[in-house]
Symmetry: C2
Subunit: 292 residues, 2 copies
């Protein structure tokens, strides 16, 4: 047996070549065009974008701006939101996800990030919502496969199970991957999974340790869990300001074979969204080198 | 294969004989003596109490009041809070838990509810915190066994992993029970576990379906998850006002062999703590018969 400690010591981050920033991190200050310019000016080589900002900018123009700046697009946020009380509602969600696939391809995104949706409106049927998610993903997978676009299921923290995402652990997301077959993997965000006692084992499984073959880790997202956390949605912390052992989790992810970018995604209504966005970018870069 | 649906249909609740109220539900309005009188007046046969309220009342007097009212004491809240940065701190926590065991015995409580504690102050070592919890429980178990007092590990929602409780799923709590041996079981609170994709299987395991022998479900707590939830700690809902399918979970718990009381525990700073406590008790009773 090889020493497990070695496998979980991550490689040092000595430059910004693996840094990506999700535009949610500066969404109150900058639109997409400003974010592209601001991240590039900060020496950040990766970006993840949101559909509403892309729509505001125009898809073709957004794709050109991002391409001209030379970014790696670590993800398009977001597809998903499948559960709905009526068949028409579920069909509309599937159609919207098909458009998201087209946009992700146009943007050259590495993956379409899926936030599954929570309970259907007015329902308490969590198992039913999870079945709707599985069916919705199965419906869009042929288009995604044809386009060569990986679908990244992002398990969200259990506190979002009701209203945002009923896929709440990495193990559950991987079970879904197993059921759906090729073309689908996971986005691992430390904020959502850091608490999970099964995390190390499930990250290894995502990397193919279960014999399933190719690695299924399509994205790695970072931020921090603040103590206290004052809002369920908009109080995420900058790396280093909270309690998550980010290097440990990054070590597990890299031991599982992931060598892509680390994407900073911080929703912070009272703090980082109130600051000069150039400062936000420079702090992201500093902390990336210091504490990630 | 027998039809699984039958096993998960709970028996109807046609009277209040299985209702308990945790005094946290009225803690802003009533001290222990008032709660004892108020719950008894409302026809509620069970009560769960907190150590601070017991201390305010005096242990002997509290025990007499509760005994004279004829209550079943579904739990004493709470032991636990084991992780600490120093050995002296961890020893102090263990000593405090030993006092909690004595108090639980004096009160005739069915169990001492354990909220494990989160990360040690200043630490990001979640695995280390979990080891401190295991060690703390192992240290107090001889006294609990000698006193015949069951120790009930309560897994808390993952959103409390950092600052309150690093035992965050029922499966993890049962793994801990397996490691610790006799005298320890679980308290299952729908608020903390409703989101868990493994819940049905783990409840069955808690009931002894894994061949471990006697059932380990020592308490069953109810309230509801509100959408939106505006505070991580103090915005729990009254049964029926949220999205938890309580009868389904009660069905699983009963199929696993639990036939004890259902304990209402609602922390609600902005709503139920602002109301006439007699109204709170009567709504608990109504909802118990209607939606639990």
């Amino acid at each position: 047996m090889t020493a497990p400690a070695a496998a979980t010591t991550p490689s040092p981050l000595t430059d910004l070549s693996r840094l990506s920033i999700n535009t949610a991190t500066t969404r109150q200050q900058w639109g997409l065009e400003q974010a592209v310019a601001g991240y590039a000016a900060g020496g950040v080589p990766g970006i993840a974008v949101w559909r509403d900002q892309v729509a505001d900018c125009g898809l073709d123009r957004a794709a050109r701006l991002i391409r001209d700046a030379g970014f790696t697009v670590t993800g398009l946020c977001r597809g998903g939101m499948f559960p709905a009380p009526t068949e028409a509602g579920r069909r509309a969600a599937i159609d919207d996800n098909r458009r998201a696939i087209e946009e992700a391809v146009a943007l050259g995104a590495r993956c379409l990030v899926i936030v599954s949706g929570g309970l259907a409106d007015g329902s308490r049927d969590l198992a039913g919502a999870r079945a709707m998610v599985r069916d919705g993903l199965a419906a869009i997978l042929p288009e995604a496969r044809a386009a060569g676009l990986p679908i990244a299921i992002e398990p969200l923290h259990p506190m979002y199970a009701a209203d945002r995402c009923c896929i709440n652990t990495l193990g559950q997301a991987l079970d879904l991957c197993d059921a759906l077959g090729p073309g689908v993997g996971v986005a691992i965000d430390v904020y959502h999974v850091w608490w999970d006692p099964a995390l190390e084992a499930q990250i290894a499984r995502a990397g193919g340790a279960d014999g399933s073959g190719a690695g299924r880790i399509l994205a790695f997202h970072i931020c921090d869990w603040l103590v206290p956390t004052t809002d369920l949605l908009l109080d995420r912390g900058m790396m280093g300001d909270g309690v998550i052992d980010i290097p440990r989790i990054r070590g597990w992810v890299e031991a599982a074979g992931y060598d892509g970018l680390c994407e900073v995604e911080i929703f912070s209504a009272a703090n980082w969204w109130q600051r000069d966005p150039e400062e936000v970018v420079s702090v992201c870069a500093e902390r990336f080198l210091e504490v990630v």
